[in-house]
Amino acid sequence: MTGRNAPGFLLLIISLNLAFAACARRENSQPSGLPNRVQNQPTGAQQTGVETDDGQWTMPAKDYASTRFSSLDQINSSNVASLKLAWSFSTSVLRGHEAAPIVANNTMYVVTPYPNIVYALDLTQPGGPVKWKYESKPASASQGVACCDVINRGVVYADGKIFFNTLDDYTIGLDAASGKELWKTHVGDINKGETMTMAPLVVKDKVLIGNSGGEFGVRGWLTALDATSGKIAWRAYHTGPDADVLIGQNFHPFYTQDKGKDLGISSWPADAWRIGGGTTWGWISYDPDQDLIFYGTGNPGPWNPEQRPGDNKWTCGIFARKPENGEAVWYYQFSPHDLHDYDGVNEQILLDLPVNGQTRKVLVRPERNGYVYVLDRTNGQVLSANPYAYITSSKGVDLNSGQFLYNETKNPQAGKVIREICPAAPGAKDWQPSAFSPRTGLLYIPHQNLCMDMEGLEANYIAGTPYVGANVKMYAGPGGNRGEFLAWDPVKGEKVWAIQEKFPVWSGAVATAGDLVFYGTMDGWFKAVDAHSGQLVWQFKCGSGIIGQPISYRGPDGKQYVAVLAGVGGWSGAIVAAGLDPRDPTGALGFVNAMTDLPDATTKGGMLYVFALP
């Protein structure tokens, strides 16, 4: 709705660091003039903060603006039909592979799910042989603690080092050339239910990481480690007193409901904040101009809603912070007093967007609750929130007050049957990240179309204690397709085209300057579609379902490659990866019911696939 009168997406400019913005502009003016891209100096000493688009892929989101856009255009809709498998690599791990392959200095880095093995593959040699392998050997007990399969969302490369998290709460820095362990910092405790699944982000000399485990009474945090020493520089909690949340003089949220002293205590029943969740397991973006990081917080826990009256700050919202000291600058809460497990951890894409005739610095967020939010990233004001999925659980967002308007008839209540809560607990979109192309001005959103019923109580048993649990069953929303891949116009705030998929689209996406968008399906098809029309132009059947993040890079031979990890799993794929019994529809928190036919469609197994033109 905002910017509906605006001249359109041609004005879109990715708000990146200067160097990359320059590249992008050049491409915009010369859409086909890519082959002679500047070959950058050796990249080993580069900091990600000043990285140019040199055909590498050093962080899962590609850049600080989280565009997942590759400016490579050798592969385009006229030749993609001849795209072929160049080589492949088995990770030897069978669980869900959500990581993005990372490419730097002609080496590809891949981290597997538990047991979190890191492989460095030599791209200068035919077939990408293993250069080194690092086994982090996480405690096997961490598998029993992790809530939703034992995935890992990737490593990050910066300044000659590789950083990643392990399921058992270590952050590890490796020498990118040799695989030698530089430091290993213990940042959480699996015995208290904390695990780590997110990919770090490196900003300047800080490695930013967060924890998982809101269901287990973990208190969520974001932590910065010194990239050189691995020492903890600061930690910001997401519940509790302002001092713990790193809220100080410079905190200026836009809306009144987010203003006040120690809301992280007063918006909870007594002491409930101590175990209140609000973990960080999704994505962080960084705006070098403002010197701000942006990231979301997870659902409140482990209480169910009726036992935690209040807004439950600072869960299910987004923080802007200073990377040096973690100081909070603004905050906005997407789902105050979360009722539906709508974690606020999704990716935010930083764009400069025309809004009512003015160019605004915004962040665009396809949120779990089913709306694409456009926020002014300088102050946290909601400029628009338009639904991109079928929603019954809420009625919208009040743009004046910023309040999320719940549909009370769909509020879960203990002992009550509630039907057709849409989106279901994994949201309209879970962790799987979108991509943005500055050439089309469109955002490409992989997501799911699921509703849930909460019906009945069933006897359950944890640690020798019987209790009755709500019986959550998920199923396809309207249309009967459980997944969808859609193109979204962030200026107009509306859907441009959509591809319906049988299963939830649990993979990430990558957009390229060849005007192609790549994504994968849970039954194993890796697809390329035309970025303008959504027309399927190429597909390849991988050995296992795809829930990973595709990337595109330029090899040492100057050719453009597209790579993706296959290996089904994750929350949605747990039925295959963990061998859950499809006869138990409430397995994996009710997800099994929606996925009973997945085992017929795919089998498990982690494998890297790399594609190129012949």
Partner: protein, 425 residues
């Protein structure tokens, strides 16, 4: 077999399973039946056959008298009363076996779902798919009506397919037990728990070698142990538990109030006004939409601000993490805690500070929240042989098991105390 049954007429928005449901209770009392007639009970009696040991009385019970068109709470209320009625019926007639027939269901698929939801073993004799055999009927009915209560709406029921024969094989000569290595009084790796002793007892009866698969009993426990085929029996699961085939129960316990004796608090009911003032400790499971019964019951009474939560998971690096809530009472962190009986009974006994343990009343809170649970052993679905074997041993060693539970301070409730407590409400 085909007992007549009311066509129950409810308003269109009432719940379809209930509309279609008729339950026929075929009881087999140990002695001559002394069933009295009741106006709301339509009865079709078969003549007792004097040559048989078991006298069979067939009754067709319509749910109609308990069901009024209305909102969810009214209907659950009604089912709650229905359950109590069956309860009384069983007690009065000293019934040990029930056969329940569910009639007039819309179609068989629904019957299968319902059967599973009733958490009742399929009758082997008679072999009608709609027949369920209830042994020790009362506890099971407890769950039966619980399930019914919430099964009560009709769309989106998943059809549960029949159990297939694909079963991980048992290892000959070995009794493989899945257990938590760090959770007294149930089990630990030092074999100090009552479930460890029970496993010893079973192994000595089956003359098998005892082996353990250790795994923290959290989300994924059954998936990673029993279902993965790494072991064959879990010593304690709630009767009728979805993820396993359960034996008949070998004890029934209750949630309890735990207080320091020196506080002289006499809290017996969730409706005690004192609970609005005291600091109360409860445990939480972190299952998004559900929690432990006391957590729900208190929040329903709007008792929230004075409640302190302890996660059931606790800190697994400490011994017996769920026991922190008992320590909290002793240390005066909270005035009263509400916890599952076996945990409370055992640690109250071990506590240096004298603690008082009192069963929670009511046993079933509204709209339908049980505080009393039957505990069985669990085997993989389809492992009938082991289940039968275990049940025989449970019968044979009944006295030893009772003694064992007594040693560990497990508070138990039986049918009699249930009745007494209910009368006392």
């Amino acid at each position: 077999m085909s007992s007549p049954c009311h066509k129950v007429s409810l308003s269109p928005n009432s719940l379809c399973v209930l509309r279609a449901l008729c339950v026929s209770v075929v009881s087999e009392p140990p002695k001559q039946s002394t069933m009295e007639s009741r106006s709301f009970l339509r009865r079709k009696k078969t003549k007792p056959s004097s040559r048989r040991n078991n006298v069979t009385v067939r009754e067709a019970i319509s749910l109609a008298p308990w069901l009024q068109p209305g909102d969810q709470n009214t209907q659950c209320d009604a089912l709650n009363r229905f359950q109590r009625f069956l309860f009384d019926l069983a007690q009065r007639n000293r019934l040990k076996r029930f056969r329940i027939q569910v009639l007039n269901l819309f179609h068989r698929a629904k019957a299968t779902v319902l059967m599973r939801s009733l958490r009742v073993a399929q009758a082997r004799e008679g072999s009608n798919r709609e027949d369920f055999l209830l042994e020790r009927s009362v506890p099971v009915l407890f769950f039966a009506s619980l399930a019914l209560c919430f099964l009560s709406a009709c769309s989106h029921q998943t059809v549960v397919s029949p159990v297939t024969a694909q079963q991980p094989a048992r290892v000959a000569g070995v009794l493989r037990v899945c257990a938590d290595p760090n959770n007294l009084p149930f089990s630990n790796q030092q074999l100090e728990g009552f479930e460890n002793k029970l496993a010893d007892m079973i192994a000595s009866e089956t003359k098998e070698k005892l082996e353990y698969t250790w795994w923290a009993q959290r989300r994924g426990f059954f998936r990673n142990t029993l279902k993965a085929g790494d072991c064959d029996v879990v010593m304690g699961v709630p009767s009728g538990f979805e993820m396993a085939a359960t034996t008949k129960p070998y004890y029934r316990s209750s949630y309890v109030f735990i207080t320091r004796k020196d506080r002289s608090l006499d809290i017996r009911s969730l409706d005690d006004p004192l609970l609005r003032k005291l600091r109360i400790g409860v445990q939480m499971v972190g299952d998004d939409f559900s929690n432990t019964p006391p957590a729900h019951a208190l929040s329903r009474r709007n008792i929230i601000q004075n409640v302190r939560g302890y996660t059931l998971y606790g800190d697994y690096s400490q011994p017996n993490p769920p026991a922190r809530i008992i320590d909290a009472v002793a240390a005066k962190e909270v005035d009263v805690a509400i916890a599952w009986g076996p945990l409370a009974g055992y640690f109250a006994r071990k506590s240096k500070v004298p603690l008082k343990v009192v069963p929670v009343s009511p046993q079933v809170d509204q709209p339908f929240l049980p505080f009393v649970y039957d505990i069985s052993m669990g085997v993989r679905r389809g492992d009938q042989e082991l289940k039968d074997q275990l049940e025989q041993i449970l019968d044979k060693r009944r006295a030893d098991i009772d003694r064992l539970l007594e040693q560990y301070g497990v508070p138990r409730v039986d049918a009699t105390t249930v009745a007494v407590n209910r009368a006392g409400n």
